[in-house]
Every structure is written in structure tokens, then in C-alpha cells.
């Protein structure tokens, strides 16, 4: 029971109440839910598994919905239309159709939402607070993405530089300003809500020690996805922080750069499974899990920086939209309220 309650509490805290409290409570059948997403995928074939985490989320979400819904239109990288399966095992979903418009930029999405053309849009984390202040209904998952630095090699100098850069980054400033305090500062791969021990991984800044370690260091190449509106400002701030410690990071587009800023996905709400998907060896013993995660960070030469949620903006007529702990949709429970007179 306690397990259920704690789990429910952990999950419930991520499921921002999307249902309007003044709405009629019994769900309505019918209607088309229109969703804009920035990700774009070619197909659901296993061979087409995307590398980009957002595309991976989208692919999993669509794959999951094929069950209560059926795919009736598939335009690769552009549009997917799902239709309610009248004979779905748990009963027909409330919605008649779901239209997913892929490859929509943040600007496209904002415009579509404002014009009422779309019911659900992705919200950049930096805009989440402002959207809420403007009265937009929002929904956010638990932290389910990790922003981390990944180092290409190891050995005396590189290990020293990794330590120096870790100590040089001003995570609170990035979290407060660029991320608008969304998500969590973290030195762990698995988020605190999932493992319970993420707080054990150090995150403190120590510029003096960073300077000491970085003395007479050679410049390092630094790469990130230049198209990502999330990563770009964070990468720029890291370059500034590194310079404060005497570390020169030179922007690069090479996949073999010395340091890369990456987004890793938490693929499961089971800590063991999530660690396994990141390459670690899970255990039933939490202490061994902690040690395995620490070993994984070391062996993959990672520096986790932030744990971030996925956020969505919802039109007023969207009810029961929930985002699972790993950012997954649950469209089968969503229903649209009829317009009030």
C-alpha cells in the first residue's frame, strides 16, 4: 500500500492537474485532438529509431497509442493521424481522432496555439512560467531528461580537465536564468524522484580549485546541437564559465569534439530499467545501484548537469491530459469538452 501511495505521490506530482475543476466530470466522447511537436520521425520501424531524444519520445508516444487508436494517415516527418479503434481492449478511446503535426518549430507552435488551430503544444522550459502567468493551462512531466557533458577521451590531462570543468560551471545561475528554475540541478543520471539518492552526487562550484586544475591547459573543442534552442544558451554560458576558470572551449560541430553537451533520456519509471537503458548494471540493492550509477558516469566520462521535465501547453477544452514520468502521453484518457453556450 505504502509502495502504491508513494509511487502515486511521485507520479501524481508530475501530472499537473490538466482537467479543469469546473468541467463536467464524466468524459465526453468525440472530437479531434490536434498536437504540434518539434520532433519528426520517418516511421515506427525499429530500424528507423531516432537518435534525437525528442524524436525518440515522439516515436514511443505514437507507438504506444497504436492500440487504442489506429494509424490512418502517415506522412513521414510531417503528419500522423490516428483514429479511435472501436474495438480497443479497454474500450474505445474518448477521442475520435488525433492529429500529430511533426517538425513544428517553437514559433510555429506558438502561432498555431494562439490562433486556436492546435490543442496541445510543446512548451520550451524557459517559457513555462510566463505561459502560466498568462493563464495558459500547462502540464509538465517529472524530470525525464538529463543535460550532461560527455568527454571524448580519458587519461591524465583529460580527467583533470573534466574535473576542472565540472567545478567551473555555475549551475544555479543557468538553472535560475536560462531554465527559469524548471527541473533540478543534478550531478546524477537518474533523477532524485526515481532513485532517491541523486542528492549524493556533488554539484557545488569551486572556481579556485577549477583554476588550479586547469592551469596551463590546452584548449578543448566543444560541440552541441546548434539547432537546439534549449542547448544553445546553456552551451554559451558554459563557455563563459570555463573561461573564468582558464579553460578555453572552442565551438565545434564535430561529433568527435573533446566535449559535447548532450541530452540523455530517462526511458523508464523503473530505476533499474532506466539505469540499464543508459548502460549501467541495475541491482535491487539501492547502495549497489548508487555505486553502479557512479561507475557508469565515470566510465562514460559524463558530467550530468540538470534534470529536466517535458512541458506542454493545453487549450481550455482539453481534459485529462497527463504526461507520465518519462514524458509519455496517455491519449486514451484524453477527452474534449464541448463548447459552453
Amino acid at each position: 500500500m505504502r509502495r502504491t501511495r508513494l509511487r502515486s505521490a511521485a507520479i501524481a506530482s508530475c501530472l499537473l492537474a490538466a482537467a479543469a475543476l469546473d468541467a463536467a466530470r464524466r468524459p465526453h466522447y468525440g472530437g479531434t485532438l490536434r498536437i504540434d511537436v518539434s520532433g519528426a520521425i520517418q516511421s515506427l520501424d525499429a530500424g528507423d529509431a531516432p537518435a534525437d531524444p525528442l524524436d525518440a519520445v515522439l516515436r514511443e508516444n505514437i507507438a504506444r497509442e497504436v492500440g487504442p487508436f489506429r494509424v490512418v494517415t502517415w506522412e513521414p516527418m510531417k503528419t500522423v493521424i490516428l483514429e479511435a479503434d472501436e474495438s480497443a481492449p479497454r474500450g474505445r478511446p474518448y477521442l475520435d481522432r488525433v492529429e500529430i503535426h511533426m517538425g513544428r518549430t517553437s514559433r510555429d507552435q506558438a502561432l498555431d496555439f494562439e490562433l486556436g488551430k492546435i490543442d496541445v503544444v510543446e512548451l520550451p522550459l524557459a517559457d513555462l512560467r510566463r505561459a502560466q502567468q498568462q493563464g495558459v493551462r500547462t502540464s509538465a512531466s517529472q524530470p525525464c531528461e538529463v543535460i550532461a557533458l560527455a568527454f571524448a577521451g580519458h587519461g591524465g590531462d583529460l580527467d583533470r580537465m573534466r574535473q576542472a570543468l565540472t567545478l567551473a560551471i555555475d549551475r544555479p545561475a543557468i538553472h535560475n536564468v536560462l531554465l527559469q528554475r524548471q527541473g533540478e540541478i543534478s550531478g546524477a543520471l537518474l533523477p532524485q524522484w526515481l532513485s532517491g539518492y541523486a542528492f549524493l552526487f556533488p554539484v557545488a562550484r569551486d572556481l579556485n580549485k577549477a583554476k588550479e586544475l586547469a592551469a596551463s591547459a590546452a584548449p578543448m573543442s566543444f560541440a552541441w546541437d546548434k539547432q537546439s534552442p534549449l542547448l544553445r544558451p546553456i552551451a554559451e554560458r558554459i563557455v563563459v564559465n570555463a573561461a573564468e576558470a582558464g579553460i578555453a572551449l572552442r565551438s565545434s560541430t564535430s561529433p568527435d569534439a573533446d566535449v559535447r553537451l548532450v541530452i540523455l533520456r530517462i526511458a523508464s519509471d523503473d530505476a533499474g530499467e532506466a539505469l540499464r537503458s543508459l548502460g549501467g548494471a541495475p541491482s535491487a540493492d539501492p547502495l549497489k545501484m548508487f555505486e553502479a550509477e557512479r561507475g557508469l558516469i565515470e566510465s562514460r566520462r559524463l558530467v550530468p548537469l540538470f534534470q529536466l521535465p517535458l512541458a506542454y501547453g493545453l487549450a481550455p477544452n482539453v481534459n485529462a491530459w497527463t504526461t507520465g514520468p518519462t514524458g509519455n502521453w496517455r491519449l486514451e484518457d484524453v477527452w474534449l469538452e464541448s463548447p459552453k453556450p
Binding site: 463536467a24 468524459p27 474500450g91 542528492f199
Partner: protein, 357 residues
């Protein structure tokens, strides 16, 4: 001794269950095992990152500090220990960090807390629990020593045995369609019954689709009434000797229609489930209505009268630990089924409207 062991085996998890104090002591024992000769553990910091209350956290800290103090220990070199009460997706996690200069060792232990007391409800409208179960109930019919429970795909028959009910048999409803927000009603007694499900009427185990007796729209959660659009609920009361109809419609509002079925008003203060019952104070009909709360919230049922075409509460609300999923007429009042949010169980209650003098 043997009896004690057998009792433990019989009670299973109960004997194996660990209290929070015991878990904290186990953690302290692990910390102590890490100390070298001449070292003494000292609780330097305590953090509570869990949902555990302050009182319990303070107690855990005291138990931890006490457990670290070894009996007859001589003063030694202090070693700082940071004690953290955390939780992961499933359990509480008790963590100790042993600090020696720049070196740190970690110990942790999971704690599976026993179930807490179920949330209580305070009934102001007279409410009596008649059945609770894990699976969904759509309707319950009690007649003498027999009870029938309508579930989405079967009717389960129970017989009274002493103070409880014993399951006698389950009668599958052949061809019953699965609906996401299932609704249904049950008429009958003994072994004879008629079950009304979305798009179907089942006489005994045999179900027929369509027909004039169908009460619920096929594959939907709305009611199907002659000459009315689909509604969630329907009730008829009297207004100066003439009928006044109330319908819970798909726009989320309760609409009123006069005897000629002309719309005469609407309001949004009720939920989607209501019905007319005899007013316990003998002045015509009252309406029992659920609240317009969300489906993931607690719910209430309140008695109302319609005065000047407005709903006026005439009772305190009867509270439920989760959403009311069905509200049907029953002998002497109504039957309410609610899904308890904490346990996930469905609970069926009889509701009777007495006169509150």
C-alpha cells in the same frame, strides 16, 4: 515457540514488516560497522527529502543518534555522519554519509512502510457501505439475503452468510461490449435479472444489442431516452403540479425543461450524476446530485430542491473518498458507487434522505 513461528508464517508479511525505527537502527548498525577502533559516530546533519512528516523525521533522527551511541563506548575520535531521509519512486530511502576529511562512505537502506489508515469520510447525508471490491461495479441490487453486483462483463451473485456475503456464482454477460467509462443498471432479484449496458439489454446471461429497452448509448457513457438527445443523467420533479425535467448534458451543465420541454434555465453547480428521490420531509421530490469535481478528486453527494428554478441544497454533503461513478435509484433512496482514490477500490453505498429536524 513453534506456535509463534507458525503464527508468523501464517501472518506472513506482518511478522516480516519492519518499523521505521527498526530500519533506522539497521542503518545505524551498518554505519557503526564502518567505524574503525577508537572512532565515534556523530550525527552532523539531518535532511528530510521525503514526504515523511516533521514529527516522524525528528523521531527518526533521535533513534538514529541513539543507535549510533555504543553502550560503554569511551570517548573517541568523532566521525561526522550526515543522515538523509529520502524517497525514490517506490519507497523511503534512508541514507548515511560518513565523512572523514575529504573521504566519504555511503550506506543506505530502503524502508517499506506499512499501510496507513484509510481516509475517513464523514457522512452527513445518511450513507451506509454495502460492498467494496477491487473491480468496477456498475450497480448493486440487494433483495433479502441475496445481492447481485453488475460488473462491466458479468453479474456476480452473493448470498448472506452470517455478517458477511459469500460469492455464489458469476454469470458472464455474453457479448457485453467493453466501454472506457462503463455504465450500467441492474433490475431483478433472486437469480432473475435484467442488466442494461451500453447499447445492450441482457436478460440473464443473454444480451441483445439495440431495441427499445436500451438505456445507454452503444459504446458511449450517455443515457438514451425517448425523444431526448443523449444525456448523462435525467430527473423529473414537480413544479406547481407540473413536471420539470432536468438533464445533465454534454456541455457540462444541468439544463431544465418545462412540461412542454421548452428550455427554462441551466446551471453548472452539479456533477454529471443525479437522480430524483422521495423527499424525506414529505414535500415532493428532492434531487441527489454529485459535485462537479474532477475525476481524480474526492466527491460529494448532496440533496437539493428546485426552488424558483434554482437548485437549493437541503442537506449537508455526503463525502466520498473518490469520484462517484454511479448514482442510481434504490429501495428507500439511492445507491452510490465511488472509487476510493487511495485504495483504488470501488465502494457501493446506500443513501437515504432523512428529515433533519
Amino acid at each position: 515457540m513453534l506456535r509463534g513461528i507458525l503464527l508468523c508464517l501464517f501472518l506472513g508479511g506482518l511478522c516480516g514488516a519492519q518499523t521505521l525505527d527498526e530500519a533506522v537502527r539497521s542503518l545505524a548498525k551498518r554505519v557503526t560497522a564502518r567505524l574503525a577502533a577508537g572512532e565515534v559516530a556523530r550525527v552532523a546533519t539531518v535532511r528530510n527529502l521525503s514526504s515523511l512528516g516533521n514529527a516522524e523525521a525528528t523521531r527518526a533522527r533521535a533513534v538514529f543518534a541513539r543507535a549510533l551511541r555504543q553502550p560503554n563506548a569511551r570517548p573517541g575520535k568523532p566521525v561526522d555522519v550526515a543522515f538523509t531521509i529520502s524517497h525514490n519512486a517506490a519507497e523511503l530511502l534512508l541514507v548515511a554519509e560518513i565523512e572523514r576529511g575529504g573521504d566519504r562512505q555511503v550506506e543506505m537502506i530502503e524502508y517499506k512502510a506499512p499501510a496507513g489508515p484509510a481516509p475517513s469520510t464523514h457522512a452527513l447525508l445518511e450513507k451506509r457501505l454495502i460492498r467494496e471490491q477491487d473491480g468496477a461495479m456498475l450497480d448493486v441490487a440487494v433483495a433479502g439475503d441475496s445481492m447481485m453486483v453488475l460488473e462491466p462483463t458479468e453479474v456476480v451473485v452473493y448470498a448472506r452468510r452470517g455478517l458477511g456475503w459469500e460469492r455464489v456464482e458469476a454469470k458472464p454477460l455474453e457479448g457485453a461490449a467493453v466501454v472506457r467509462d462503463p455504465r450500467g443498471q441492474l433490475d431483478g432479484s433472486g437469480n432473475e435479472f435484467t442488466a442494461y449496458l451500453p447499447g445492450e439489454v441482457c436478460h440473464g446471461a443473454h444480451c441483445e444489442s439495440g431495441g427499445k429497452d436500451v438505456r445507454f448509448t452503444a459504446a458511449r457513457n450517455t443515457m438514451q431516452l425517448d425523444d431526448w438527445s443523449p444525456v448523462f443523467s435525467f430527473a423529473q420533479v414537480e413544479e406547481r403540479g407540473r413536471p420539470l425535467y432536468l438533464t445533465a448534458e454534454l456541455d457540462g451543465r444541468t439544463h431544465m425543461y418545462d412540461a412542454a420541454r421548452r428550455p427554462v434555465g441551466s446551471f453548472d453547480s452539479w456533477g454529471d450524476d443525479f437522480l430524483a428521490v422521495a423527499n424525506g420531509c414529505g414535500i415532493g421530490s428532492a434531487i441527489l446530485a454529485s459535485s462537479p469535481s474532477a475525476r481524480d478528486a474526492t466527491d460529494t453527494v448532496t440533496a437539493f430542491e428546485i426552488t424558483d428554478r434554482k437548485p437549493v441544497a437541503i442537506s449537508d454533503p455526503a463525502e466520498f473518498a473518490g469520484p462517484v461513478t454511479a448514482l442510481w435509484p434504490a429501495p428507500g433512496g439511492a445507491l452510490a458507487i465511488a472509487r476510493d482514490l487511495a485504495t483504488g477500490e470501488y465502494e457501493a453505498y446506500t443513501l437515504t434522505l432523512g428529515c433533519n429536524r
